[in-house]
Amino acid sequence: MSLDLWTVLTIASMGVVTYCTRLGGFLLLRNRSLSPRALAVVEAVPGCVLISVIAPRFVSDKPVELLALAVALLAAWRLPLMPAVLLSVVATGLLRHFL
């Protein structure tokens, strides 16, 4: 098996870029004490990141996908993590299969 140098370099560049993104925010805030306003922004980070990643689900053009999302929303609101994941996966699979 021969590795292509350019391929390895490209893969390595991905790793380096990604590690820089992981380090950057931490290094920037490591030695600062935050103002209440900056603290409010930091506290909003988890919600804003998570909802942005799954946002495409909310604007799917397929009704069955929106229905599956509704099931996931309901399950996530009511159940602990594991049952919510299982129910969402099974319901989504069934909805796609039968609708």
Binding site: Y19, L28, V45, C48, P56
Partner: protein
């Protein structure tokens, strides 16, 4: 296991690093259910694009950010456009900047030899679960977080490789419901962070902007624009109070 709890600081905060690490391993299970099929699909797609089998775990383990890996494989040519792929990786992963910033106040007391690998392993799920756990228990548990990360990283590397090896046999996994696992995980984490509508207003800004960006712009801009706009909203809303 001793490496995770050997400093006096860590021992004082978490008298039992071993059980904490194992708690992380155990609680990662729902996430692994989501990782597994997606890892197989990514590995199969990478093999299809001409990756050598060994290059798949190199990417999966060295980069460990699934979204950017799907984007990279989607853009992959022979030879690959290094700058294009590095730039798209930066775009998809610049949310890590905000994630690391949110984590900083909780982990800045840790020595670099612990925090550097801990950040290396930070993915959406381990980060959000680590933060949620810190909120619930009143302190960040590094061994718990590393337990989450170890299980997720290993699963990702092993099953992307398996996907590259078994390749074409697994084309249809995405049509089952497995991809909904991540949505459910993220929604449960959002519920955990919910403290009322007022505090969640930036989330709705993020949702609206990310969704609009997704519909209007090609590629992965929606994560960056959605997250950033929510934080701008949080900044202005906090200023009004």
């Amino acid at each position: 296991m001793t490496t995770f709890g050997s400093s006096s600081e860590s021992l004082a905060r978490h008298p039992a690093a071993g059980p904490e690490f194992r708690r992380g391993l155990k609680e990662s299970l729902p996430v692994l259910i989501g990782f597994l099929p997606i890892a197989l699909v990514l590995g199969a797609q990478a093999a299809d694009k001409g990756f050598h089998t060994i290059e798949v775990p190199m990417m999966a383990g060295g980069n460990f950010a699934g979204g950017s890996e799907f984007v990279a494989v989607g853009l992959w040519t022979s030879p690959p456009h290094l700058l294009l792929i590095a730039a798209m990786t930066l775009l998809v992963n610049c949310r890590h900047l905000m994630m690391g910033a949110a984590l900083a106040p909780l982990v800045r007391h840790l020595p670099a030899r612990k925090i550097l690998p801990a950040l290396y392993l930070m993915c959406d799920e381990s980060w959000a679960m680590g933060l949620a756990d810190a909120k619930k228990r009143g302190g960040f548990s590094l061994p718990y977080y590393l337990g989450l990360c170890a299980a997720m990283w290993l699963t990702w590397v092993v099953f992307t490789t398996v996907g590259a090896v078994v390749g074409p046999m697994i084309g249809d996994l995405a049509t089952f419901g497995f991809d909904m696992a991540f949505t459910a995980i993220f929604l449960v984490l959002l519920r955990g962070a919910w403290t009322g509508f007022k505090a969640a207003r930036p989330w709705f800004v993020s949702l609206a902007v990310a969704a609009a960006t997704y519909l209007l712009l090609p590629g992965a801009w929606y994560v960056a624009t959605g997250a950033a706009s929510g934080l701008v909203a949080a900044w202005f809303l906090a200023g009004k109070e």
